[in-house]
């Protein structure tokens, strides 16, 4: 079905990106997964080709593209058969550099945003802590002002790009006595090389190409010029960018699901049991029809949200709905797909098997299903 969402420029961008991914990413995906690392070179290539930071001002290497380009990007990242890669790139592009763009000064943007757009630096957002996930106001990492420095002490966890990345946009408490507490939260750029910053790589169920880290800040001295925006201003920026982050997560989920469906349809048409392709069994056919339907339902609402979001409308409720609905959907689709693949659906050499593990994170990362329902309920006035 036609959706009339994207214009010609979006589609051109899609074609270029798709070609790039097919040439430069898909063939190496297995290797990156095995190495649990994405080579630096690929970031640089993406930067050079305009696949990073395209929404930002030309002064910082972007082209001022609209948010629908992010949608195109997410769709393509999900179908390039590189588990974890899409998450890493979106974490850089849509979930962390965005804060520098939103809150940073011209100098800060030149210093950090520009190299991120060029793919020379890899960016991460560090909000989650062992004791505070969705409860952003509850973070314990402190930044104490001492003269022209902040001294940061604390710990972050589940930070995508946190191990191999360069720039950490870090949420800290600059005022522990603020009432309400979220007014004491600020964002400070921490560079990975700084003294007192250490990272521990976490081994995950899936998404292996992307690195996820625990990060420790032990009396890290950061110049005050690393503060993004004003002190205490970060909470609203974080809440705002969560919408983009969740929209991107939704687009990824829908596109992953579509990709899995296509792989499964191919398999079901080829795999013969009891004398016919398994696609000819009603239970299989109906399952595939259900998968396609669930995908289409989520696609329609996600495009609708994307269009409204790009127009600047507040679609927090709908994005929260979608974040969880699409995440649950893609997990269901992955489950059903592995079922239809039979024993092969459990073998790591099959993409659906890997995706089943990779995608388990999506009902959790970026706000759990339960938190999303809490938010939707609140926005419904309950």
């Amino acid at each position: 079905m036609k959706y009339d969402v994207f214009n010609e420029e979006h589609e051109q961008f899609r074609v270029q990106l798709r070609r790039f991914l097919a040439d430069r990413v898909t063939p190496h995906a297995a290797e990156w997964e095995r190495n649990r690392q994405i080579p630096r070179q690929i970031w640089q290539e993406m930067g050079q080709l305009g696949f990073l930071g395209f929404c930002y001002d030309p002064a910082y290497g972007g082209v001022g593209a609209d948010d629908l380009f992010r949608v195109v990007m997410s769709e393509e990242m999900a179908r390039c058969s590189a588990g974890g890669f899409g998450v890493a790139v979106c974490a850089h592009n849509d979930m962390s550099t965005t804060y520098i763009d939103l809150l940073g000064t011209h100098e800060q943007k030149l210093r950090w945003l520009k190299p991120c757009t060029a793919g020379e630096k890899v960016c991460a957002i560090a909000v989650s802590e062992p004791g505070a996930g969705s409860d952003v106001a509850g973070i314990a990492t402190r930044a104490e002002r001492k003269g022209d420095h902040y001294v940061i002490e604390g710990q972050k966890t589940f930070i995508t790009n946190g191990y191999y990345g360069d720039i950490l946009v870090t949420a800290v408490k600059t005022d522990t006595k603020a009432v309400p507490p979220h007014k004491g939260i600020s964002l400070i750029v921490v560079e990975k090389g700084m003294k007192g910053v250490t990272a521990r790589k976490l081994e995950k169920i899936g998404g292996h190409a992307s690195d996820t880290a625990e990060i420790f800040f032990d009396q890290v001295e950061v110049p005050v010029e690393h503060l993004l925006g004003a002190e205490g201003q970060a909470f609203y920026a974080i809440m705002k960018n969560f919408q983009l982050e969740r929209l991107v997560a939704t687009i990824l989920a829908v596109s992953f699901a579509q990709h899995i469906l296509e792989l499964t349809m191919d398999h079901a048409k080829q795999r013969v049991a009891f004398g016919k392709p398994i696609a000819k069994f009603q239970a299989v056919r109906h399952k595939l029809a259900e998968m396609a339907t669930a995908i289409e339902l989520n696609r329609a609402l996600s495009y609708q949200c994307a269009v409204q979001y790009a127009k600047g409308e507040d679609v927090t409720k709908e994005i929260s709905m979608l974040k969880y609905a699409s995440a649950e959907m893609v997990n269901r689709v992955a489950y059903d797909a592995t079922q239809l693949f039979g024993g092969y659906g459990y073998m790591a050499e099959y993409e659906v098997a890997r995706l089943y593990a990779d995608l388990r994170a999506v009902t959790i990362a970026g706000g759990t299903t339960e938190i999303m329902k809490d938010i939707v309920g609140r926005l419904m006035g309950l």
Binding site: S128, G131, G133, S134, D135, G138, T157, F158, L202, E203, K204, I205, G206, V272, A273, F274, A283, N331, Y335, T338, Q339, G342, G343, G345, Y346, M347, A348, E349, A353, R354, Y356, A357, R360, A361, T363, I364, A365, T368, T369, E370, K373
Partner: protein, 378 residues
């Protein structure tokens, strides 16, 4: 209510073994694989590998309730790869030898399997044939005092370490179910090879292999029973295999829930323990109710088996329910662990990876449904 003192004493000895010899090693075995020979030798010494089998071959000669106790205790293992490896030995690869094999086969293979001296594997599935047994293409052709086997098998648990395989092969081109033979195939025969060690989403402590048979000459005495009835034997052996998932599931699910409850009780979110969240509490109860039901369906099956009744229908139902429940509980509890649930250092992540296969292996959910539908006459 259902077990007496003797059962409980036996349970305690299995429990001790799991706590001391298995769980402390699981982390290492997940990384490097289980040394099955070493482990099985210990288990054989304790009499764990031949609970129901005739003492003549080293078995304990106990009843199905003892077997149930044993499997229940394996539900406490921190991961599924090892229990599956053990169940292959006791309930998947050897029941047909016990039921239909000659004394020669029992002496030569069942006895060392019970003693833990030989590791067994069951070789039915092929690259082109899972549930559709009629599509099996591995052949066994009689040639003098041997059968010559050609073909390949896949998804074979214990396949890399096995000393012998219980293998189903086509012995005739006739259509129908009476064209297969079940063979005991030692893995040191010429022409046998492990063509591939398979990398899986989970069950990392168990090895899974693709096997290749290139003119493997198996002595004719290694045929189990009648050369045309292997399929029938295997169908019966399947009941022993499929039963194993029932006891292990309700015990493991309960353990998974307990460890999740422990976690959410201490995990504070927005100032309150996660365990106070109604939706989580309700979800846990839904699973507990299904766990309790599955337990009693299982005991019903045990009573049926003890009474000598055919429990194919009930076992198939139980297999279906157990596998679905397991997936639901493992994935649902992982959710309650939040981000930690996705990290390999958290045990729940292993359960999630390990349990996915249970709705596929040993007869997929769809196969269970087809079986019951047929038995119900619709």
């Amino acid at each position: 209510m259902y077990f007496n003192e003797t059962h409980e004493a036996f349970r305690a000895s299995v429990k001790r073994f799991v706590d001391r010899e298995i769980n402390p090693n699981m982390e290492a075995w997940e990384a490097e694989g289980v040394p099955l020979h070493e482990l099985f030798r210990k288990m054989g010494d304790l009499g764990f590998l031949g609970i129901r089998y005739d003492p003549r071959w080293g078995g304990q000669g106990l009843d199905y309730w003892f077997e149930t106790v044993f499997i229940e205790e394996l539900g406490h293992v921190w991961g599924w790869g090892l229990p599956v490896a053990i169940m292959v030995q006791t309930n998947m690869a050897t029941p047909a030898i016990d039921m239909f094999g000659s004394d020669f086969l029992k002496e030569r293979y069942l006895k060392p399997a019970i003693a833990g001296e030989k590791v067994a594997a069951i070789a039915v599935t092929e690259p082109g044939a899972g549930s559709d047994v009629a599509a099996l293409s591995t052949r066994a052709v009689r040639d003098g005092d041997a059968y010559v086997i050609n073909g390949s098998k896949t998804f074979i648990t214990n396949g890399c370490q096995a000393d012998f395989l219980t293998l189903l092969a086509r012995t005739s081109n006739d259509p129908g179910h009476h064209s297969y033979g079940l063979f005991v195939v030692p893995t040191d025969l010429h022409g046998f090879s492990v063509s591939k060690k398979l990398d899986k989403v989970g069950l990392r402590s168990s090895d899974t292999a693709e096997l290749f048979f290139d003119n493997v000459r198996v002595p004719a005495v290694n045929l189990i029973g009648n050369e045309r009835e292997g399929f029938i034997y295997q169908m019966q052996q399947f009941q022993h295999e499929r039963f194993t998932i029932l006891p292990i599931t309700y015990i493991a699910c309960r353990d998974i829930i307990d460890m999740t409850v422990t976690y959410i009780k201490q995990r504070i979110v927005f100032g309150k323990p996660l365990s106070t969240k109604q939706v989580l509490r309700h979800r846990l109860v839904e699973w507990l109710a299904e766990i309790e039901s599955l337990r009693h369906l299982t005991y019903h099956v045990v009573r049926m088996k003890t009474a000598g009744l055919d429990a194919t229908r009930e076992i198939s139902m139980g297999k279906l329910l157990a596998a679905q429940l397991l997936n639901k509980v493992a994935s649902g509890c992982l959710q309650m662990f939040g981000g930690m649930g996705f990290m390999n250092e958290t045990l729940i992540s292993r359960h999630f990876r390990d349990t996915r296969v249970m709705s596929i292996a040993g007869g997929a959910d769809e196969v269970m449904k087809d079986i019951v539908a047929r038995m119900e006459g619709f």
